[in-house]
């Protein structure tokens, strides 16, 4: 089954061997095509990546059908054209053309008929100009959205391509260059493996077509499996550092944190699998990295393309330059420098993808420590060698136990190091370790046990076609691979069908349903909210799904912080809306009245026969993203006046006192401020995660040493032991057990003061316009509201029947748009109409 790999000259006309490799029978093609159809169904059923990717995958699979029967000499040009066309298809015409234009400029400079040094200088000048534009030091005529894709296509591949131009005299064809840089599906992936240019050219139909295409399908399926495992870990197993309070949670945290890397390995398998469909028999991107038994082994198994890139462009040249000082020194210094460069190049990558330079001490520490460990390991291997084998290794019980033990120790070491790398800060990472002082229960054995089982199973040797000694052995290995791939493909599709997974029990059905879409986890949802409320977002990990949402956000996306509407007032609330101000935004006008509410003007004294309700809440209530007349508060007010629901009042006034970024504790200040306007009703809008956000805010207030003017809240802070000199993770951990109590105090205060002032308190829940687990607190919070004495309205399903994308401003900004606000207003009206006493009461109140 395995054909010998021939080494056809790169760029030379295809040899007889490659011609033969390019052929496929109709039957084999049909089998491949059928599998591709199933892969497309799999992508769709599990909403793998974006809609743009799904559309591109469909185009790619159809293109494969054409490509597979083209004469071999036409296939690479076809692939190049497909790649070029995919760019405007996925990015839009204008963005796509800009990417192609800038990319073509780079390619043209590489092939100018001038000296290599002049070409290098020209490339550096163009790169410097682009860098200045990326840093917004210079203007640019294209959309922000092109930067991540342009960066992913050129920031590393240009380096290795130019290196090869310098050292390899084999001519490069236009199709090879264009196909290499713009290779489909790069346009959908800002994170893309650093495909080596020589490997790209060398691998084209270097192996039999059927085998190549089949491996591509296997890898795409493997990629999807990685992504689904990632989703499960991302949704269900990840913890915030402040939630890690005992040893069992500590092991869960560090294991799940590391395993989020499955997203990268999944994507890379899918991407390279797709390239296989066009004849590129490229090397594997990862090689069972969870089974690494040493630091050098880990470096060789994880992101192999990156390792090969560093080795080729930096490591070998440095070793050769330094070997006059001795081989051991040359290897040690070069290895250290490779890790230093890896850190620097990650920052460089971050700059192109995000437009800012990433500099974090824990980042440097991670690469530094890993570098030293790999150096020590390398020097050891240099002196003592390592075990290698030409075929099946002879295994004894002792060797099996030793191998598993090494892999086990290595896995946990990497998990610990990885947790440092992905921490928000060194202080946060150190704070994590305090969890080991927590109670030791039997649950502490769960993750160590699972990891041991996985490593033990993974250590069972599997037959490989490449190392098979006989045809039968090769066939058995091939058949096993096919069986696994087909079983996974068909099995996953089957279980994704609603009629199937609902028969497997509620828990399985819920699990499968959640894995069928990509959305933000509860932790990333919380980070997204903090991004709104605090105007900062430290999204600094490439495998973060949150980063992918944010990477689409244009740099000129309007934030409320940039409108001048908020002012800092000091004290517990810290900020509010600047009275008597107007801002004209692309969404319309935002008018702040003399009372500091985003609303029309109202008299200070409540008019007679009027229900005057103050509406409190965050930016959703203020109506960020819609015009003055489009807020749900305004729409509802108009309707309540045009279609009255109570004979007790002739007029209804809803006073919008929503403030962007306000957390529940701040609403106490907002409520107290509005008492001068004599409201007789309170509409408190809860937007989700009320308990968590309340505790977060108190932690912030303590850190800023602000006075807490509410004795009951101060008492909780005192009880928790939170101090101003504590890091955020520790503060949140200490306040976490009191979250519910904090909210009870807040709601209790609002209700008590309402009753004292003759105000009818109503609590209304309005969800985020985003799928995910953000609503997990809602039942508990609803209960607290009811027990406090609020009348309650739960609008959890206000967007039901609508595509969430149609009711919010953008994927990275889930404030409701005008349609969203209308839906909220309509549902609120209906809820009040169903129970008018909730808002209006049943008896006339004092006028």
């Amino acid at each position: 089954m395995h054909s010998a790999i021939t080494s056809s000259a790169i760029g030379a006309p295809a040899s007889d061997a490659t011609q033969a490799h390019g052929r496929i029978t109709l039957f084999d093609f049909a089998v491949i095509a059928l599998q591709l159809g199933l892969v497309l169904v799999l992508f769709r059923q599990f909403q793998i990546e974006s809609t743009a990717f799904l559309q591109l995958a469909a185009i790619v699979f159809v293109a494969f059908a054409v490509h597979a029967f083209l004469p071999l000499r036409m296939r690479l040009p076809f692939f190049a054209v497909l790649s070029v066309v995919s760019v405007p298809l996925a990015m839009g015409l204008s963005n796509g053309l800009w990417i192609l234009a800038i990319g073509s400029l780079f390619i043209a400079i590489c092939h100018l008929r001038v000296s290599i040094n002049l070409r290098a200088t020209a490339l550096l000048l163009v790169a410097a100009l682009l860098a200045a534009q990326r840093a917004t030091l210079l203007p640019f005529p294209w959309h922000d959205a092109i930067w991540p894709i342009l960066g992913s296509m050129f920031m590393f591949r240009l380096i290795v391509y130019f290196y090869d131009l310098r050292h390899d005299s084999t001519p490069v064809t236009l199709a090879q260059s264009v196909g290499y840089f713009f290779m489909v599906p790069n346009v959908c992936f800002p994170l893309f493996p650093v495909v080596d240019s020589q490997a790209f050219r060398r691998s084209h139909y270097s192996v039999d077509a059927r085998q190549t295409y089949q491996r591509g399908i296997d890898w795409m399926v493997r990629g999807v499996v990685h992504l689904l495992l990632y989703r499960y870990i991302y949704y269900y197993l990840t913890l915030a550092p402040s939630e890690v309070t005992d040893p069992a949670q500590f092991s869960q945290y560090i294991v799940s944190n590391f395993l989020l890397y499955l997203r990268v390995s999944g994507l890379f398998h899918m991407i390279v699998g797709m390239l296989y469909l066009f004849g590129f028999h490229l090397p594997e991107t990862h090689n069972r990295y969870l089974l690494a038994s040493s630091f050098t082994d880990f470096w060789r198994r994880i992101n192999i393309y990156w390792k090969d890139f560093m080795q080729k462009v930096f490591y070998f040249p440095m070793v050769f330059a330094l070997r006059r000082f001795g081989t051991t020194k040359a290897i040690a210094i070069s290895t250290l420098l490779v890790f230093l460069l890896t850190w620097a190049l990650h920052s460089y990558q971050w700059f192109w993808l995000r437009g800012v330079v990433l500099f974090a001490w824990h980042d440097i520490l991670f690469w530094g420590i890993l570098g030293v460990l790999v150096v020590v390991n390398s020097v050891y291997e240099l002196k003592f060698g390592r075990r290698r084998s030409l075929g099946k290794q002879v295994m004894t019980w002792r060797s099996v136990v030793v191998t598993i033990a090494k892999r086990y120790a290595m896995f946990w070491t990497i998990c610990v190091l990885w947790s440092l790398w992905t921490s928000e800060s060194i202080a946060d990472w150190i704070s994590l370790w305090s969890a080991l002082r927590g109670p030791y229960t039997v649950e502490v054995l769960l993750y160590p046990g699972i990891v041991l089982a996985v490593i033990a199973l993974g250590s069972i040797p599997m037959p490989k076609a490449e190392t098979a000694k006989t045809r039968q052995e090769a066939y058995r290995a091939w058949a096993l691979d096919r069986a696994i791939a087909v079983a996974l493909l068909v099995g996953l599709i089957a279980v994704s069908i609603q009629d199937v997974h609902t028969r497997l029990g509620t828990q399985v059905a819920t699990l499968v349903h959640s894995l069928r879409s990509g959305h933000l986890s509860r932790l990333d949802n919380a980070k997204l909210e903090r991004g709104y409320y605090e105007g900062i977002l430290s999204v600094d990990r490439f495998n973060s799904q949150l980063w992918e949402v944010y990477s689409k956000k244009p740099s000129n996306w309007l934030e409320v912080e940039n409108t001048g509407l908020k002012r800092f007032v000091g004290g517990f609330a810290q900020a509010d809306l600047a009275p008597s101000s107007v801002a004209t935004t692309k969404y319309g006008t935002i008018t702040i009245n003399r009372w500091g509410g985003r609303d029309k003007d109202y008299t200070e004294v409540r008019p007679p026969d009027t229900l005057r309700a103050v509406v409190l809440g965050p930016s959703l209530v203020m109506g960020w993203g819609v015009d003055d007349d489009e807020t749900f508060e305004r729409v509802l007010e108009d309707r309540l006046n045009q279609e009255p629901l109570s004979p007790l009042f002739k007029h209804v006034e809803l006073l919008n006192f929503g403030v962007p970024g306000y957390q529940p504790p701040q609403q106490l200040v907002a409520f107290d401020k509005t008492s001068a306007l004599q409201p007789n009703a309170l509409l408190y809008i809860a937007a989700g995660r009320e308990m968590r956000r309340s505790a977060d805010y108190l932690a912030q207030v303590v850190r800023k040493r602000l006075v807490i003017p509410y004795p009951a809240l101060q008492a909780i802070v005192d009880k928790s032991g939170v101090r101003a000199d504590m890091d955020e993770t520790t503060s949140l951990k200490l306040l976490e057990p009191y979250q519910s109590e904090i909210l009870k105090v807040i709601y209790g205060y609002l209700v008590e003061q309402s009753i004292n002032r003759g105000i009818r308190p109503v609590w209304i829940f309005i969800p985020q316009a985003r799928a995910g687990s953000w609503q997990e607190e809602t039942p508990a919070v609803l209960k607290i509201a009811q027990e406090a004495g609020f009348g309650t309205i739960d609008l959890s399903d206000v967007y039901e029947g609508y595509d969430l994308g149609s009711v919010r401003l953008a994927e990275w900004d889930d404030h409701p748009n005008a349609l969203g606000h209308r839906l909220i207003a309509d549902r609120l009206y209906a809820a009040i109409a169903a129970n008018p006493n909730l808002l209006f009461g049943s008896e006339p109140t004092a006028k």
């Binding site: 490997a199 050098t296 070998f316 070793v319 290698r388």
Partner: protein, 87 residues
């Protein structure tokens, strides 16, 4: 002569990196780099051996899969540097 060169290189690889393995398993086309037998350190050691043994000089960019992935390709590279080895 090139057979002798190939055999010498094979002996070195067997002794240095595959002690105890069956020499007949290492053929002229066995993938050395893609097969995991030569990693970066082993490739450097092999290059140093070739330089010392045959008096040739390697450059950094020549330490790659094209040149070192099989005994055949290693011999071809050596011959390109020192044609006398082919006689």
């Amino acid at each position: 002569m090139s057979d002798a060169v190939r055999d010498k290189i094979k002996d070195y690889i067997m002794q240095e990196f595959l002690p105890g393995e069956d020499p007949s398993e290492l053929t002229a086309t066995t993938p050395l780099i893609s097969g995991g037998i030569l990693d970066s350190i082993a490739a450097l050691k092999l290059v140093m051996f070739l330089e010392q043994e045959y008096g040739v000089a390697f450059e950094a960019h020549e330490v790659n899969r094209d040149n070192l992935d099989s005994l055949t390709s290693i011999v071809q590279l050596l011959i390109s540097k020192k044609p006398a080895l082919a006689r």
